[in-house]
Amino acid sequence: MSATLAVLTRELRLALRSGGGAGLGLAFFLIVVMLIPFGVGPVPSLLAQIAPGTLWIAALLACLLSLDRLFQADFEDGTLDILALSPMPLEGLVAIKAFAHWITTGLPLVVAAPILGVTLNLPESAYWWLVISLAVGTPALSFLGAIGAALTVGIRRGGLLLSLLVLPLYIPTLIFGAKCVTAASEGVEVMPAFLLLAGVTLLTLALTPFAAAAALRMHMR
Amino acid sequence: MPDLGKYGETILTAYAATIILVAAIVIVSLVRSRKIKRQLAELEARRNG
């Protein structure tokens, strides 16, 4: 247990230290949401209609931004080898790292999203579901990202490849997450979409540490 | 040529696109096969020669 906490605090410290990159995702999220009205025009009704999808896609891209650093630095300086030799299973390490990634990138987005929802004229009924769906859906983004990060860890210029590998995996989460918010803003039953979203997240949390750890072992062999 | 009626263009485009794509993958595969086969032959000739 103490090992888990130690790794988690280390990850968080590294991310929050200057140059760690936390906060960049948030800024990116803000910029993408700001660019949308420039692209589609400042019509309130149109913005209200596309707000759920916009916020979800912006969150998805912001999440992607810091993924390539998830294992890269530790892999390059050998920390990952040492961590792999420790009694803690590599699967657990991957899960902690993905969780730390979620705390530093996903969680701020969850908090910031309703504020940006105001600028996009998001219908009032959708705010709660926006927060809930992002809170439930973004962990899946970080964990799926861990697979992509583990697959591309030793590859030079892996960043672009990483997005090509990870973005298709985000499709179910995006569909169900955005559907939650859209359904709430239209006053339709939200639960089906929400339960499916939660299901995808749970499946992801259960499976991805194994896949990502397997990929890391292949790199370190 | 059968009478394709008003959809003639549609059908012919679909067939043409398919033929082009299939031909492309076949040609690419064959060219690479030839190239690799020749390289391997040269390499083995050099080793045995």
Binding site: P168, A193 | T18
Partner: protein, 241 residues
């Protein structure tokens, strides 16, 4: 004699070398029969007019677009479990062929959609999931290209194939949830009640067989190339040392 005998590259080369010309000839024959029969000698369908002739390329291409991925999935699993190099190379060889099949299904579908649905592209579940499949093929192929060490590349792409399969299937149903579409239901099934009339069915079977054999021939050809390429790499390493 078990199937694992062919995991030996030498045996695989010997066998495929022998059967490849026959498969190719048979593929050309089946495709010629199916497509010429379908194109010249089938009547117009009530709902589709003469566009029904597109079925002879659209349905087989779509079938093998999915089955190519299934082959990659099985081959990757065999590589991970039993570490037969030929298996990993079959997965690699099948990907571009599957991608082209996906592209054919998408393009013929779009062309067919224009007169039938009044639009080239509709975000219909089936079309969309094929687009998703196409993206998965691109990612898989890109990962193979990105890694130099052959065994590591085989390992990592196998993991991607496993994860990709799970998420491609989830996406398929997620897309259904997202939008009900315009697409016809399955036109072929083992259940006799459902499938298309015999006039179209028999040439379609020939076209399916033709596409299958074409797919097989291409995968064999490409796998043979990959095996030779692997041998070249090994020889060059030996010379370098």
């Amino acid at each position: 004699m078990s199937i694992w005998e062919f995991a030996n590259p030498v045996r695989f080369m010997r066998l495929t070398g022998k059967v490849l010309p026959w498969i190719t000839a048979l593929a050309i024959a089946c495709l010629a029969i199916g497509l010429i029969w379908g194109f010249f000698f089938t009547p117009e369908a009530i709902n589709f007019g003469s566009t029904v002739k597109i079925i002879y390329i659209h349905v087989p291409a779509a079938t093998f677009a999915i089955n190519a991925w299934a082959l990659m999935f099985v081959a990757s699993m065999i590589w991970l479990v039993r570490r037969h190099h030929v298996s990993a190379l079959v997965a690699r060889a099948a990907a571009p062929v599957g991608m082209v099949m996906t592209l054919i299904a998408l393009i013929t579908g779009a062309i067919w959609g224009e007169p039938m649905w009044g639009t080239y592209w509709e975000w219909d579940p089936r079309l969309t999931s094929f687009l998703v499949l196409f993206v998965f093929y691109l990612g898989y192929m890109a990962l193979w290209e990105a890694i130099d060490e052959p065994d590591k590349a085989a390992d990592l792409t196998s993991v991607l194939a496993m994860v990709g399969t799970v998420f491609a299937v989830i996406s398929r149903y997620a897309v259904n949830f997202w939008n009900q579409g315009l697409h016809q239901g399955a036109s072929l099934s083992l259940d006799k009640e459902e499938h298309v009339a015999d006039v179209y069915y028999i040439p379609l079977l020939f076209a399916l067989a033709g596409f299958f054999l074409l797919f097989l021939a291409l995968v064999f050809l490409r796998t043979r190339t990959e095996i030779r390429a692997r041998r070249i790499k090994a020889l060059q390493l030996q010379e370098a040392n």
